[in-house]
Amino acid sequence: MVESLLRLRGLAWPLLIGLILGGAVMLLGGSALFWALVAAGLAALLIAQFITFQEPILRPAEKTADDPLAALPPMTRVLLDQLPSPVMLLDEDETVLFVNHSMRDVLGPGLDRKRASQVLRNPEVLGAIAEARAGIATNVPFSLPVPIERHYQAYAARISIAPSVTALLLHDLTMVKRSEQLRADFIANASHELRTPLAAVTGFIETLRGHAKDDALAREQFLDIMGVEADRMRRLIDDLLSLSRIEMNEHVKPEGHVNLEGMVRQAVAGLKPLAAAEAITVKIEPEPGLPEVIGQPDELIQLFQNLVHNAIKYGREGGEVRVVLGRAGEQVFGAVSDDGEGIPAKDIPRLTERFYRVDVKRSRERGGTGLGLAIVKHIVNRHQGRLAIESRLGQGSTFTVFLPAVSDQNAVRSAAPEPVTEML
């Protein structure tokens, strides 16, 4: 209906011209032939007008104003849509003209033709959009607290005046905020871990100064406990220091070539007294003819020390700890297994977090610092290896470390024996 009317409007001009010309001809009173020529000319004009202007007639100017994005080249549209940053374009009424893929991930489906306040209610963002519409490009931080806390920086700017188009771009800061939080938590945790033994030590000092002053038996007992607590603090500080040292070098690839079996034997030798106290036997089962691995000797010793120590701590009393060394493609692996209670599946993914403990009380009793596996993870990362944890409740756990083996090419280059081999 509307379209046919528009079509008629398109015909109005030639008709008008025709009428004027016709009037002029009538006034001049020309011949019949001349009259016919004029009529034919007008008809031609009419047809030409109809063909040439058909497009604009069918798609009037208002329609393009309705979709200001029609001016965007298709490639730009695709680019916008694929952009990893969430983008939204709004018209003069703050109605959504366009949202890209990532914005849809943030805000969910069903955004088209809605108002900005209906899809993103945050007052800071709405304020930024209002300012941008007035021509002031703004950027504000804002956060969406639920369901999962997310933080963004929002940039809003007017990108076209007529038709009015405002662009809103989000920059995801969640990771940055989260790592800030993690760091703060780490400091809080570390201080808390240090404070507990410190409180015990100071408490006993007070008692020794006070009513236990002349009690020789109590004094001995208290000094023992203080010694244990002081040891705990020392271990914690040692672990914190080695963790920070490893982290510092984490991006530097180790260059040495080491014999893994030598490392394991050295680590196990240091833990003999501990194993004996728990009546646990530690067995090392290396596959013959293993290639060397690329690694830093001290760190690898510490890695196996931590793993074997854990296995002794959480293994069954009088049980067995096995360290199997073998080959897996281009990698050499060392698998440390115990026959203890095992670890609940829900805890496994979090085991390498700092100060994460499956059983806080037990870990403390056993002198754990909560950092052992965090150190293992960082050493493995630095060596570009992989840590796999398997556990079955009631049957025990296996921690397997995969490390890159020295390829034949590398082996030829470093013909000189490594100092580590001598340690065997």
């Binding site: 069903g110 108002r115 306040s117 209906q118 899809v119 209610r121 945050n122 607290p145 639920v146």
Partner: protein, 238 residues
């Protein structure tokens, strides 16, 4: 609000609904600031939450004015009438939530002057649950989704349950150490305010349901707040 010329009835309704959403956003921000003030002991956030109330009241006024004008001049019917009514009702509920948030923030200012207390973490958890309800119900309002509204309506029990356990815990706390009574009373009111905010969310859910389906959610909402019947016996230590 934006000064665009309103061209049609549909656009007037749309603008009204957008205004309610905007008010919802302000309420969410105010509530979030109040909870941050409690959880992170952030007095600046508390001030922000207290200050944000004026703007919310202003928008509520505007929503009422616009709705009145719409009713008087356009005499809407059926879904249009329900939408207009829903806007006014939702705005009133949001205004109440804003007031409660303001009250929480004021109490946070007092709490932050006292030594930290572990119980604020339970409050933070309860606040998160309420924030979730508010977000969901506002989403349901803007997307005209009756099912989502019904889900919010049915989920209020979660908040009530945290409230129940917190209530008992606070009572026990106060009995153990009367010096904490002042502090715990503030915490108790904060908890009550959060619980009330949750109830206002379910009211909005009912409004949204009525707006979309024209029917009513059954009157018997699963109610899990039992604190009005709770007492903890005082044990005298001889």
């Amino acid at each position: 609000m934006t000064e665009h010329t309103v061209k049609s009835f549909g656009e007037q309704l749309e603008a009204l609904s957008a205004l309610v959403a905007q008010m919802g956003g302000l309420t969410e921000a105010q509530f979030a600031a109040a909870m941050e003030a409690i959880a992170r002991r952030d007095s600046a956030a508390a001030e922000r939450a207290v200050g944000g109330d004026a703007r919310i009241d202003e928008i509520q006024q505007e929503i009422e004015d616009r709705a009145l004008k719409l009713l008087a001049l356009r005499q809407p019917m059926a879904v249009d009438l329900r939408e207009t009514l829903a806007a006014v009702k939702t705005a009133a509920e949001l205004e109440r939530i804003g007031d409660l948030a303001k009250n929480i923030a004021k109490r946070a200012l007092v709490l932050n002057r006292e030594p930290p207390i572990r119980l604020t973490q339970s409050l933070a958890r309860m606040g998160k649950a309420a924030q979730n309800q508010l977000k969901q119900v506002l989403d349901a309002f803007t997307s005209r989704n009756a099912d989502e509204a019904e889900a919010v309506w049915a989920r209020d029990g979660e908040i009530d349950e945290i409230y129940n356990s917190l209530f008992r815990e606070l009572l026990t706390y106060m009995m153990e150490d009367p010096r904490t009574i002042g502090l715990c009373t503030h915490l108790l009111f904060v908890a009550k305010n959060i619980e009330r905010s949750g109830d206002h969310c379910t009211n909005i859910a009912e409004v949204v349901y009525h707006m979309v389906r024209a029917g009513h959610l059954s009157a018997a909402r699963p109610k899990a707040d039992t604190t009005s019947e709770t007492s903890v016996p005082y044990e005298t230590h001889a």
